[in-house]
């Protein structure tokens, strides 16, 4: 179970289930009032004019344009891919989004539509969104996504096992999925809305980082509450601490419920203040969102045109 490259205190933690539990429960508790106050305080920071435009462009380049509906069609995925390539056709200088996020059976369509663009194709996998299935089925799900050409895999952890305290099982599963991913980046969805406490979020974050997740992601978007600022704060602290301990940069992806430019900018402020400016890049911070992109485009137009724009000027999706 041990990962050889880690510093001693971390590789000890992963040597067996008891050490893992001892390590996770030994993490300092989260000051709930403090983290909520700090998140709210940073949320009031005013970003205007040139800085706002730059923040909007940064946010657009960090979007994982997502469609995870039962009603998804190949046509919808192709339309989404077209939007990812040119978010605002009237303004070709608009940055491209980071990736398109779809269900595994639609990955091939997305890959075909995005070939040569450098835009990633992310696929949810492991019995998304509940994660309630056998290990074999979950790994087959990952294999389908990777075989179809997904460059990023968004897995869900087994929240039931985590809440029952079977950390070893969650750890092994993440490692198994990581191995099945091959070259594809692995994002581990903690589904913080079901973890109940900030302490659990911190433990799950460390668990996912120890097991080799390249990104930790807040939510599936199917559970409310989805991403919140305080939860993202706790996760950003985890990746920052991971970096100071191991020297490795890992990413964070809040997903679900981020719909407006204002929200997105609040998250960017949090990234800058909690993790650091190094994380303000699409390779280390992403937004999982579907309707956020349209609002970012509208606000971008407002900044450039000097008057307010409206939803008639962007695509319906």
């Amino acid at each position: 179970m041990a990962t050889p490259t880690l510093p001693a205190e971390l590789s000890d933690a992963t040597s067996d289930e008891r050490s893992l539990r001892r390590f996770l429960h030994g993490l300092p508790g989260v000051d709930q009032v403090g983290v909520e106050q700090r998140a709210a305080g940073l949320g009031t920071r005013s970003i205007k004019k040139g800085s706002k435009l730059q923040a909007i462009d940064t946010a657009i380049s960090m979007v994982d344009l997502t469609t995870l509906e039962g009603a998804d069609t190949h046509g919808k995925v192709r339309a989404l891919a077209a939007k990812a390539r040119r978010p605002d056709p009237e303004r070709p200088d608009t940055p491209r989004v980071a990736a398109v996020c779809v269900y595994p059976d639609l990955v091939a369509t997305a890959v075909e539509a995005l070939v040569g663009t450098g835009i990633g194709v992310a696929s949810v996998a492991t019995a998304f969104p509940s994660g309630r299935s056998s290990r074999e089925v979950k790994l087959a799900d990952v294999a389908l996504a990777v075989r179809s050409g997904a460059t990023e895999v968004d897995m869900v952890i087994d929240r039931g096992a985590f809440l029952e305290g079977r950390y070893g099982q969650v750890f092994d599963e993440i490692q198994a999925v990581k191995a099945a991913c091959g070259d594809a980046h692995l994002k581990v969805i903690l589904e913080t809305g079901e973890l109940a406490t900030y302490d659990n979020v911190r433990r799950a974050s460390w668990l996912a980082l120890l097991a080799g997740g390249d990104f930790i992601k807040t939510s599936t978007g199917k559970v409310s509450p989805a991403a919140t600022l305080p939860v993202t704060h706790v996760m950003l602290q985890a990746v920052r601490d991971w970096y100071t301990t191991t020297g490795e940069l890992r990413g964070v992806k809040p997903a679900g419920g981020i719909r407006t430019t204002k929200d997105a900018i609040r998250y960017l402020v949090a990234v800058h203040e909690v993790a650091g400016p190094d994380w303000l890049t699409p390779s280390l911070f992403r937004f999982g969102a579907s309707s956020l992109l349209n609002d970012l485009l509208l606000q971008r137009r407002t900044q450039l045109d000097g008057h307010y724009s409206g939803p008639d000027y962007v695509t319906v999706d």
Binding site: R301, G306, H307, Y308, S309, G310, P311, D312, Y313
Partner: protein, 289 residues
Amino acid sequence: MSDNRISVAKTYKLYVDGKFPRSESGRTYPVTDSKGTFLANAAHASRKDVRDAVVAARKAFDGWSGATAYNRGQVLYRVAEMMEGRREQFAAEVAASEGLPSRKAQSVVDAAVDRWVWYAGWTDKIATVLGAANPVAGPYFSFTVPEPTGVVGVLAPQESSLLGLVSVVAPVLATGCTAVVVSSADRPLPAVTLSEVLATSDVPAGVVNVLTGRAGELGPWLASHGDVNAIDPTGAGPVGRVEIAREAAGTVKRVLAVPEDEPDWTRRPDIARLRRYLEPKTVWHPMGV
């Protein structure tokens, strides 16, 4: 009650999305009567209040335009009922704002209530008057129905604070459009009371949003806004109207043609205002299919 009681001076707020928020800018300005005596403080709306109001109006548009014409008529009648209940308050505010004797103010309020009822009656009739079954030379049924244009920015008359206001707002609602209204700057109190009436009638939140402030400051933002479909520049004045028209050109808005000076609002209107906020939709339906 003793005679030396100090009256409670009010600081009124805006009416946006069915709520009464302060101006985002935090600004207020004193409102005086026609002789310069202090009446109350009103919120001084900024461009961001315009932005919020347009978002609210857009959100409310689907529900309001999708409601049956009969239902809209009922809701507008209800507004008239509520105005009738506040007759004394309206009369006092009109008298103070416009410097009218109280009997004259009463008759202005009555005319305003009647105007509202008049437009309420038009909701389920306008489609029959402006729509048509078109005789066409082919195997088709062709018919034309008027549909509401969308969000309408209304710069309310500066002089006539109640009757003028009602005469420009009621037709917007009767067609199924939603409104962002900038009230008379120096005489905003009847508009504030009207928004209290709207809030306690059955008008859904966001269908009418009332901003108190300067038409010259807010008008251009409304006119250039990409999500506003029509604008009534009545309160902008002759110079302001030119700017409004220029700003509106970029987004091809309906800009209402209004007379140079404020018209005599007591005259019975025609359906010109209703017509301006409706877009004809013509449908060709193959026969025998």
